[in-house]
């Protein structure tokens, strides 16, 4: 059986785990942009970047404790994750960035479901966020459940993010 029912995936490394998301929600994979810390934001929000004139919140999943069932290398407070890429995702009307390394495209059929012994995640990601465990060569790739992930991060599924379309901050619908 092919990965995720034949859908294309984006795989990436995060906190020592190999994770994946459906390509359908990924707008772009970009080199890490300039990111500014936002005081008062959640601890797992690395900061804000500008992406095509839109404020892009950038998330560091390593700092999002509920995602993990085991230890992972968390940067010290005040230090930013060193990930080199941002995976820009569209979720509802929101656009969010996830920090990641080793970003790769996973073609349909390239990965298969893991056999039973590999089903128990040993990479530290909590099973409730894993939709499927796939096998690529000799490694497990955890297909994350984007609905659960983004809901847990507080990203609304269908609500204005403030993404501007010509009106800038004067557009009241974007506030």
């Amino acid at each position: 059986m092919s990965a995720a029912g034949g859908a294309w995936l984006i795989s990436f490394r995060v906190g020592g785990a190999e994770a994946a998301l459906p390509l359908g929600i990924v707008r772009e994979v970009a080199a890490r942009p300039a990111i500014t810390r936002v005081p008062g934001s959640h601890s797992f929000v690395t900061g804000i970047a500008l992406h095509g004139g839109v404020a892009l919140p950038v998330y560091d999943l390593v700092r999002f404790a509920p995602l993990w069932s085991g230890p992972r290398p968390v940067p010290a407070a005040g230090q930013m994750d060193a990930a080199e890429h941002v995976i820009v995702c569209d979720w509802g009307e929101a656009r969010v960035g996830l920090l990641g390394d080793g970003v790769d495209l996973l073609e349909p059929g390239q990965a298969g479901n893991a056999p039973g012994e590999a089903r128990a995640p040993r990479c530290g990601i909590s099973a409730e966020y894993v939709r499927e465990i796939l096998r690529r060569n000799d490694e497990s790739v955890l297909l994350l459940d984007p609905g659960r992930l983004f809901a847990s991060l507080g990203v609304p599924a269908a609500e204005s993010t403030g993404a501007r379309e010509g009106g800038g901050e004067d557009d009241p619908a974007c506030r």
Partner: protein, 128 residues
């Protein structure tokens, strides 16, 4: 819109210039007495808002005070420095998504590019 660029600790932020009525240098301003959370300026008692606390920066001795005025309130805002007043079109200021904040009340409302760096714009309604 005109923005006053201020520095607070290691951070740099923008304040809408139209709410800043005065920039005070405490070393030169004789009629200003600043206490912990209040100041008396020309006989008027005003609350002091310390942007160091807002920005999560270590407290320091503020070198500049801004007198800011919103619809119904005036306050003094303590910062480390104030330098330029660039004109930034409001269409270049992207609103911040509200869901990134831990609390509904927030003191930043937007972000814009300042020489390639994203720069945060203070929200006077959240600040005052």
């Amino acid at each position: 819109m005109k923005l006053l660029m201020v520095s607070v600790g290691e951070g740099r932020y923008a304040v809408p210039a139209d709410i800043v009525t005065q920039i005070l240098d405490p070393a030169l301003e004789g009629d200003l007495r600043v206490e912990r959370s209040e100041a008396v300026y020309r006989g008027e008692r005003l609350p002091v808002l310390d942007l160091h606390a807002v920005a999560g920066e270590p407290h320091g001795v503020a070198r500049v005070y801004l007198v800011v005025e919103a619809a119904r309130s005036r306050a003094i805002v303590a910062v480390d420095g104030a330098d330029s007043i660039p004109e930034v079109p409001s269409t270049d200021i992207a609103p911040l998504p509200p869901f990134i904040f831990m609390r509904p009340a927030r003191v930043f409302r937007g972000v814009f590019s300042d020489g390639g760096e994203p720069r945060l714009l203070l929200d006077q309604d959240g600040l005052l």
